[in-house]
Protein backbone atom coordinates (compact mmCIF):
# COMPACT_ATOMS: atom_id res chain seq x y z
CA UNK A 1 0.00 0.00 0.00
CA UNK A 2 2.63 2.50 1.08
CA UNK A 3 4.96 1.30 -1.64
CA UNK A 4 2.28 1.70 -4.29
CA UNK A 5 1.55 5.20 -3.04
CA UNK A 6 5.22 6.11 -3.20
CA UNK A 7 5.43 4.79 -6.72
CA UNK A 8 2.45 6.90 -7.82
CA UNK A 9 3.94 10.00 -6.19
CA UNK A 10 7.32 9.41 -7.78
CA UNK A 11 5.74 8.90 -11.18
CA UNK A 12 3.71 12.06 -10.95
CA UNK A 13 6.82 14.03 -9.91
CA UNK A 14 8.71 12.60 -12.88
CA UNK A 15 5.86 13.49 -15.17
CA UNK A 16 5.94 17.03 -13.79
CA UNK A 17 9.61 17.37 -14.62
CA UNK A 18 9.32 15.89 -18.08
CA UNK A 19 6.47 18.22 -19.13
CA UNK A 20 8.53 21.37 -18.62
CA UNK A 21 11.03 22.03 -21.41
CA UNK A 22 13.31 25.09 -21.34
CA UNK A 23 10.98 28.12 -21.92
CA UNK A 24 13.37 29.85 -24.34
CA UNK A 25 10.65 31.17 -26.63
CA UNK A 26 8.61 32.50 -23.70
CA UNK A 27 11.65 34.36 -22.32
CA UNK A 28 12.14 35.95 -25.71
CA UNK A 29 8.46 36.97 -25.85
CA UNK A 30 8.77 38.58 -22.43
CA UNK A 31 11.92 40.44 -23.46
CA UNK A 32 10.17 41.74 -26.57
CA UNK A 33 7.17 42.87 -24.55
CA UNK A 34 9.47 44.81 -22.23
CA UNK A 35 11.32 46.37 -25.16
CA UNK A 36 7.97 47.40 -26.58
CA UNK A 37 7.00 49.04 -23.29
CA UNK A 38 10.30 50.95 -23.29
CA UNK A 39 9.78 51.91 -26.93
CA UNK A 40 6.48 53.67 -26.19
CA UNK A 41 8.20 55.59 -23.40
CA UNK A 42 7.87 53.55 -20.22
CA UNK A 43 9.67 55.32 -17.40
CA UNK A 44 12.16 53.34 -15.31
CA UNK A 45 10.60 55.03 -12.25
CA UNK A 46 7.23 53.42 -12.97
CA UNK A 47 6.19 50.90 -10.35
CA UNK A 48 4.42 48.55 -12.78
CA UNK A 49 7.40 48.55 -15.13
CA UNK A 50 9.70 47.65 -12.26
CA UNK A 51 7.40 44.74 -11.40
CA UNK A 52 7.61 43.45 -14.98
CA UNK A 53 11.38 43.79 -15.03
CA UNK A 54 11.75 42.05 -11.70
CA UNK A 55 9.61 39.22 -13.10
CA UNK A 56 11.88 38.84 -16.11
CA UNK A 57 14.96 38.84 -13.86
CA UNK A 58 13.41 36.13 -11.66
CA UNK A 59 12.57 34.11 -14.78
CA UNK A 60 16.17 34.33 -15.98
CA UNK A 61 17.51 33.24 -12.62
CA UNK A 62 15.13 30.26 -12.48
CA UNK A 63 16.12 29.44 -16.05
CA UNK A 64 19.80 29.45 -15.07
CA UNK A 65 19.01 27.05 -12.22
CA UNK A 66 17.18 24.90 -14.80
CA UNK A 67 13.94 25.29 -12.89
CA UNK A 68 12.05 25.60 -16.10
CA UNK A 69 8.52 25.44 -14.78
CA UNK A 70 9.18 28.34 -12.42
CA UNK A 71 11.04 30.22 -15.17
CA UNK A 72 8.11 29.84 -17.56
CA UNK A 73 5.58 31.05 -14.98
CA UNK A 74 7.65 34.11 -14.06
CA UNK A 75 8.17 34.91 -17.72
CA UNK A 76 4.49 34.50 -18.62
CA UNK A 77 3.41 36.83 -15.84
CA UNK A 78 6.13 39.38 -16.67
CA UNK A 79 5.11 39.36 -20.34
CA UNK A 80 1.55 40.35 -19.52
CA UNK A 81 2.76 42.84 -16.91
CA UNK A 82 4.84 44.50 -19.62
CA UNK A 83 2.01 44.45 -22.16
CA UNK A 84 -0.26 46.12 -19.63
CA UNK A 85 2.37 48.81 -18.98
CA UNK A 86 2.55 49.47 -22.71
CA UNK A 87 -1.23 49.61 -23.08
CA UNK A 88 -1.58 52.00 -20.14
CA UNK A 89 1.03 54.34 -21.58
CA UNK A 90 -0.72 54.41 -24.94
CA UNK A 91 -4.04 55.17 -23.24
CA UNK A 92 -2.43 57.99 -21.28
CA UNK A 93 -0.92 59.38 -24.46
CA UNK A 94 -4.19 59.54 -26.32
CA UNK A 95 -5.85 61.06 -23.23
CA UNK A 96 -3.24 63.81 -23.35
CA UNK A 97 -3.88 64.33 -27.07
CA UNK A 98 -7.59 64.64 -26.38
CA UNK A 99 -6.99 67.21 -23.64
CA UNK A 100 -4.72 69.21 -25.96
CA UNK A 101 -7.25 69.16 -28.79
CA UNK A 102 -10.02 70.24 -26.47
CA UNK A 103 -8.03 73.21 -25.26
CA UNK A 104 -7.15 74.15 -28.86
CA UNK A 105 -10.85 74.00 -29.75
CA UNK A 106 -11.73 76.19 -26.78
CA UNK A 107 -9.10 78.69 -27.90
CA UNK A 108 -10.41 78.69 -31.48
CA UNK A 109 -13.97 79.23 -30.25
CA UNK A 110 -12.82 82.22 -28.17
CA UNK A 111 -10.99 83.69 -31.16
CA UNK A 112 -13.97 83.20 -33.42
CA UNK A 113 -16.35 84.55 -30.79
CA UNK A 114 -14.29 87.74 -30.57
CA UNK A 115 -14.91 88.48 -34.24
CA UNK A 116 -17.91 90.30 -35.63
Amino acid sequence: MTLRLCAVLALSLLAGCASDPAPTAQLQLTEEALQQAHAVGADAEQEDLRVAEAGLAAAREAFAREEYREARMFAERAELDARLVEARILTAKSSAQIAELKSRIRQLRTELGGRP
Binding site: E76, R77, L80, A87, I105, R115
Partner: protein, 270 residues
Amino acid sequence: MRLAKIRVLLWLGLAALGGCAAHGDARQALEQARSDYEQLAADDAVLASAPKDVVRAGESLARAERLSSYWGSGEDVAHYAYLSQRYGAIAREHSRQVAQQRQLERLQQERDGLEQALREAKLLSVQQQSSWLEEQMDSLATMPTERGLVMTLGDVLFDTGRAELKSSANRIVLKLYQFLTLNPQRVVRIEGYTDSRGPAAENVELSRARAQTVADVLIDLGIEAKRIEVQGYGEAFPLAANASAQGRAQNRRVEIVFSDDQGQLSPPRE
Protein backbone atom coordinates in the same frame (compact mmCIF):
# COMPACT_ATOMS: atom_id res chain seq x y z
CA MET B 1 -1.16 -3.92 9.54
CA ARG B 2 -4.20 -2.15 10.85
CA LEU B 3 -2.08 0.45 12.60
CA ALA B 4 -0.03 0.95 9.49
CA LYS B 5 -3.19 1.51 7.46
CA ILE B 6 -4.43 4.09 9.93
CA ARG B 7 -1.06 5.80 9.88
CA VAL B 8 -1.16 6.06 6.12
CA LEU B 9 -4.71 7.38 6.22
CA LEU B 10 -3.70 10.01 8.78
CA TRP B 11 -0.75 11.00 6.71
CA LEU B 12 -2.96 11.36 3.67
CA GLY B 13 -5.41 13.42 5.67
CA LEU B 14 -2.69 15.76 6.86
CA ALA B 15 -1.38 16.11 3.35
CA ALA B 16 -4.88 16.89 2.13
CA LEU B 17 -5.25 19.52 4.85
CA GLY B 18 -1.96 21.07 3.78
CA GLY B 19 -3.23 21.04 0.24
CA CYS B 20 -6.41 22.76 1.33
CA ALA B 21 -4.45 25.52 3.07
CA ALA B 22 -2.51 26.23 -0.12
CA HIS B 23 -5.73 25.94 -2.00
CA GLY B 24 -7.33 28.73 0.02
CA ASP B 25 -5.21 31.47 -1.65
CA ALA B 26 -5.61 29.90 -5.03
CA ARG B 27 -9.38 29.63 -4.61
CA GLN B 28 -9.57 33.29 -3.69
CA ALA B 29 -7.51 34.23 -6.74
CA LEU B 30 -9.71 32.05 -8.88
CA GLU B 31 -12.91 33.59 -7.55
CA GLN B 32 -11.53 37.07 -8.15
CA ALA B 33 -10.52 36.17 -11.70
CA ARG B 34 -13.92 34.59 -12.33
CA SER B 35 -15.86 37.67 -11.25
CA ASP B 36 -13.48 39.91 -13.24
CA TYR B 37 -14.05 37.81 -16.31
CA GLU B 38 -17.82 37.84 -15.90
CA GLN B 39 -17.76 41.64 -15.87
CA LEU B 40 -15.43 41.71 -18.86
CA ALA B 41 -17.52 39.34 -20.94
CA ALA B 42 -20.65 41.37 -20.19
CA ASP B 43 -19.02 44.56 -21.50
CA ASP B 44 -20.03 44.81 -25.14
CA ALA B 45 -17.64 47.65 -25.87
CA VAL B 46 -14.62 45.71 -24.64
CA LEU B 47 -15.79 42.61 -26.44
CA ALA B 48 -16.14 44.53 -29.70
CA SER B 49 -12.83 46.37 -29.56
CA ALA B 50 -10.51 43.78 -27.97
CA PRO B 51 -12.01 40.35 -28.67
CA LYS B 52 -8.65 38.54 -28.76
CA ASP B 53 -7.65 39.63 -25.29
CA VAL B 54 -11.07 38.72 -23.91
CA VAL B 55 -10.77 35.26 -25.45
CA ARG B 56 -7.32 34.82 -23.89
CA ALA B 57 -8.64 35.94 -20.52
CA GLY B 58 -11.36 33.29 -20.86
CA GLU B 59 -8.91 30.58 -21.89
CA SER B 60 -6.61 31.28 -18.96
CA LEU B 61 -9.55 31.27 -16.59
CA ALA B 62 -10.80 27.93 -17.97
CA ARG B 63 -7.33 26.50 -17.44
CA ALA B 64 -7.29 27.71 -13.84
CA GLU B 65 -10.76 26.20 -13.29
CA ARG B 66 -9.67 22.86 -14.74
CA LEU B 67 -6.50 22.74 -12.67
CA SER B 68 -8.35 23.66 -9.50
CA SER B 69 -9.99 20.22 -9.47
CA TYR B 70 -6.56 18.57 -9.27
CA TRP B 71 -4.89 17.98 -6.03
CA GLY B 72 -1.87 20.16 -5.14
CA SER B 73 -2.31 22.52 -8.11
CA GLY B 74 -2.64 25.71 -6.06
CA GLU B 75 0.32 27.45 -7.66
CA ASP B 76 -0.87 26.74 -11.20
CA VAL B 77 -4.40 27.88 -10.40
CA ALA B 78 -3.12 31.16 -8.98
CA HIS B 79 -0.84 31.56 -11.99
CA TYR B 80 -3.55 31.18 -14.60
CA ALA B 81 -5.99 33.25 -12.57
CA TYR B 82 -3.37 36.02 -12.59
CA LEU B 83 -2.86 35.70 -16.36
CA SER B 84 -6.63 35.84 -16.90
CA GLN B 85 -6.90 39.05 -14.94
CA ARG B 86 -3.95 40.56 -16.77
CA TYR B 87 -5.49 39.77 -20.15
CA GLY B 88 -8.70 41.34 -18.87
CA ALA B 89 -6.90 44.53 -17.83
CA ILE B 90 -5.12 44.70 -21.20
CA ALA B 91 -8.46 44.23 -22.98
CA ARG B 92 -9.93 47.15 -21.04
CA GLU B 93 -6.98 49.38 -21.96
CA HIS B 94 -7.31 48.45 -25.62
CA SER B 95 -11.02 49.17 -25.51
CA ARG B 96 -10.34 52.58 -23.96
CA GLN B 97 -7.81 53.31 -26.69
CA VAL B 98 -10.29 52.47 -29.43
CA ALA B 99 -12.90 54.77 -27.86
CA GLN B 100 -10.33 57.55 -27.47
CA GLN B 101 -9.22 57.15 -31.07
CA ARG B 102 -12.78 57.74 -32.19
CA GLN B 103 -13.07 60.77 -29.96
CA LEU B 104 -9.76 62.09 -31.31
CA GLU B 105 -11.02 61.85 -34.88
CA ARG B 106 -14.19 63.72 -33.96
CA LEU B 107 -12.23 66.45 -32.19
CA GLN B 108 -9.77 66.76 -35.08
CA GLN B 109 -12.65 67.32 -37.47
CA GLU B 110 -14.11 69.92 -35.17
CA ARG B 111 -10.76 71.69 -34.87
CA ASP B 112 -10.20 71.65 -38.64
CA GLY B 113 -13.63 73.16 -39.17
CA LEU B 114 -12.98 75.90 -36.64
CA GLU B 115 -9.56 76.67 -38.10
CA GLN B 116 -11.10 76.97 -41.54
CA ALA B 117 -13.78 79.30 -40.21
CA LEU B 118 -11.17 81.42 -38.49
CA ARG B 119 -9.06 81.63 -41.65
CA GLU B 120 -12.07 82.79 -43.59
CA ALA B 121 -12.96 85.38 -40.96
CA LYS B 122 -9.39 86.70 -40.97
CA LEU B 123 -9.26 86.83 -44.75
CA LEU B 124 -12.48 88.79 -44.82
CA SER B 125 -11.20 91.36 -42.34
CA VAL B 126 -7.89 91.64 -44.21
CA GLN B 127 -9.77 92.34 -47.42
CA GLN B 128 -11.86 94.97 -45.73
CA GLN B 129 -8.79 96.60 -44.16
CA SER B 130 -6.86 96.35 -47.39
CA SER B 131 -9.44 98.17 -49.46
CA TRP B 132 -9.72 100.77 -46.72
CA LEU B 133 -5.96 101.33 -46.85
CA GLU B 134 -5.99 101.52 -50.60
CA GLU B 135 -8.63 104.20 -50.42
CA GLN B 136 -6.56 106.04 -47.85
CA MET B 137 -3.47 105.91 -50.02
CA ASP B 138 -5.41 106.95 -53.06
CA SER B 139 -6.93 109.92 -51.31
CA LEU B 140 -3.74 110.98 -49.60
CA ALA B 141 -0.84 110.94 -51.93
CA THR B 142 -1.03 108.57 -54.82
CA MET B 143 -2.12 109.44 -58.29
CA PRO B 144 -2.60 107.25 -61.29
CA THR B 145 -0.07 108.15 -64.01
CA GLU B 146 1.18 106.37 -67.10
CA ARG B 147 3.73 104.76 -64.76
CA GLY B 148 0.95 103.24 -62.69
CA LEU B 149 -0.01 104.22 -59.16
CA VAL B 150 2.65 106.60 -57.84
CA MET B 151 3.02 107.89 -54.29
CA THR B 152 5.21 110.94 -53.87
CA LEU B 153 6.98 111.45 -50.55
CA GLY B 154 8.22 115.00 -50.37
CA ASP B 155 11.42 116.09 -48.63
CA VAL B 156 9.77 115.22 -45.31
CA LEU B 157 11.78 111.97 -45.37
CA PHE B 158 15.36 113.26 -45.39
CA ASP B 159 17.43 116.23 -44.26
CA THR B 160 19.39 118.00 -46.97
CA GLY B 161 22.40 115.98 -48.12
CA ARG B 162 21.62 113.07 -45.77
CA ALA B 163 20.48 109.55 -46.64
CA GLU B 164 19.10 108.63 -43.16
CA LEU B 165 15.37 108.74 -42.62
CA LYS B 166 13.98 111.43 -40.36
CA SER B 167 12.01 110.05 -37.45
CA SER B 168 8.87 111.70 -38.76
CA ALA B 169 9.20 109.52 -41.86
CA ASN B 170 8.60 106.33 -39.92
CA ARG B 171 4.84 106.70 -39.89
CA ILE B 172 4.74 106.96 -43.66
CA VAL B 173 7.07 104.01 -44.19
CA LEU B 174 5.04 101.93 -41.73
CA LYS B 175 1.93 102.65 -43.73
CA LEU B 176 3.74 101.51 -46.83
CA TYR B 177 4.77 98.35 -45.02
CA GLN B 178 1.19 97.71 -43.98
CA PHE B 179 -0.03 98.20 -47.50
CA LEU B 180 2.54 95.75 -48.90
CA THR B 181 1.68 93.17 -46.23
CA LEU B 182 -1.99 93.34 -47.03
CA ASN B 183 -1.34 93.24 -50.78
CA PRO B 184 1.19 90.44 -51.05
CA GLN B 185 0.87 90.26 -54.82
CA ARG B 186 1.94 93.86 -55.36
CA VAL B 187 5.58 94.92 -55.82
CA VAL B 188 7.07 98.42 -55.72
CA ARG B 189 9.87 100.46 -57.22
CA ILE B 190 11.33 103.07 -54.92
CA GLU B 191 12.77 105.97 -56.88
CA GLY B 192 14.98 108.69 -55.45
CA TYR B 193 15.24 112.26 -56.89
CA THR B 194 17.30 115.32 -55.91
CA ASP B 195 17.42 118.97 -56.85
CA SER B 196 20.14 120.27 -59.17
CA ARG B 197 22.57 121.61 -56.57
CA GLY B 198 25.89 119.78 -56.37
CA PRO B 199 27.58 117.52 -58.94
CA ALA B 200 25.16 115.40 -61.00
CA ALA B 201 26.98 112.11 -60.29
CA GLU B 202 26.82 112.70 -56.52
CA ASN B 203 23.13 113.50 -56.83
CA VAL B 204 22.49 110.21 -58.57
CA GLU B 205 24.37 108.45 -55.78
CA LEU B 206 22.51 110.33 -53.04
CA SER B 207 19.09 109.71 -54.61
CA ARG B 208 19.86 106.03 -54.90
CA ALA B 209 21.06 105.84 -51.30
CA ARG B 210 17.86 107.50 -50.10
CA ALA B 211 15.66 105.15 -52.05
CA GLN B 212 17.71 102.24 -50.69
CA THR B 213 17.19 103.50 -47.13
CA VAL B 214 13.43 103.34 -47.55
CA ALA B 215 13.77 99.87 -49.10
CA ASP B 216 16.00 98.68 -46.22
CA VAL B 217 13.45 99.72 -43.63
CA LEU B 218 10.73 97.79 -45.45
CA ILE B 219 12.99 94.72 -45.75
CA ASP B 220 13.87 95.01 -42.06
CA LEU B 221 10.17 95.02 -41.27
CA GLY B 222 9.76 91.78 -43.18
CA ILE B 223 8.94 92.62 -46.79
CA GLU B 224 10.73 90.30 -49.19
CA ALA B 225 13.63 92.06 -50.93
CA LYS B 226 12.58 90.71 -54.33
CA ARG B 227 9.35 92.72 -54.10
CA ILE B 228 11.29 95.99 -53.97
CA GLU B 229 13.21 97.62 -56.81
CA VAL B 230 15.43 100.59 -56.07
CA GLN B 231 16.34 103.33 -58.54
CA GLY B 232 18.23 106.63 -58.21
CA TYR B 233 17.51 109.28 -60.86
CA GLY B 234 19.51 112.16 -59.35
CA GLU B 235 18.37 115.53 -60.63
CA ALA B 236 16.55 114.11 -63.67
CA PHE B 237 12.76 114.42 -64.08
CA PRO B 238 12.31 117.53 -61.90
CA LEU B 239 8.77 118.35 -60.83
CA ALA B 240 9.45 122.10 -60.76
CA ALA B 241 12.10 124.62 -61.76
CA ASN B 242 15.25 124.44 -59.66
CA ALA B 243 15.57 128.23 -59.72
CA SER B 244 13.56 128.79 -56.52
CA ALA B 245 13.94 127.22 -53.10
CA GLN B 246 10.35 126.10 -53.27
CA GLY B 247 10.90 124.39 -56.61
CA ARG B 248 14.05 122.66 -55.34
CA ALA B 249 12.17 121.41 -52.29
CA GLN B 250 9.57 119.89 -54.58
CA ASN B 251 12.25 118.16 -56.61
CA ARG B 252 13.87 116.51 -53.56
CA ARG B 253 11.59 113.53 -53.18
CA VAL B 254 11.13 109.79 -53.13
CA GLU B 255 8.47 108.26 -55.31
CA ILE B 256 6.94 104.88 -54.75
CA VAL B 257 5.66 103.24 -57.93
CA PHE B 258 3.17 100.46 -57.23
CA SER B 259 2.60 97.52 -59.50
CA ASP B 260 -0.90 96.43 -60.41
CA ASP B 261 -2.40 93.64 -58.31
CA GLN B 262 -0.83 91.06 -60.64
CA GLY B 263 2.67 92.23 -59.71
CA GLN B 264 3.19 94.03 -63.07
CA LEU B 265 5.42 97.07 -62.59
CA SER B 266 5.85 99.76 -65.23
CA PRO B 267 9.40 99.88 -66.66
CA PRO B 268 11.94 102.34 -65.14
CA ARG B 269 12.04 105.83 -66.61
CA GLU B 270 14.45 106.48 -69.48
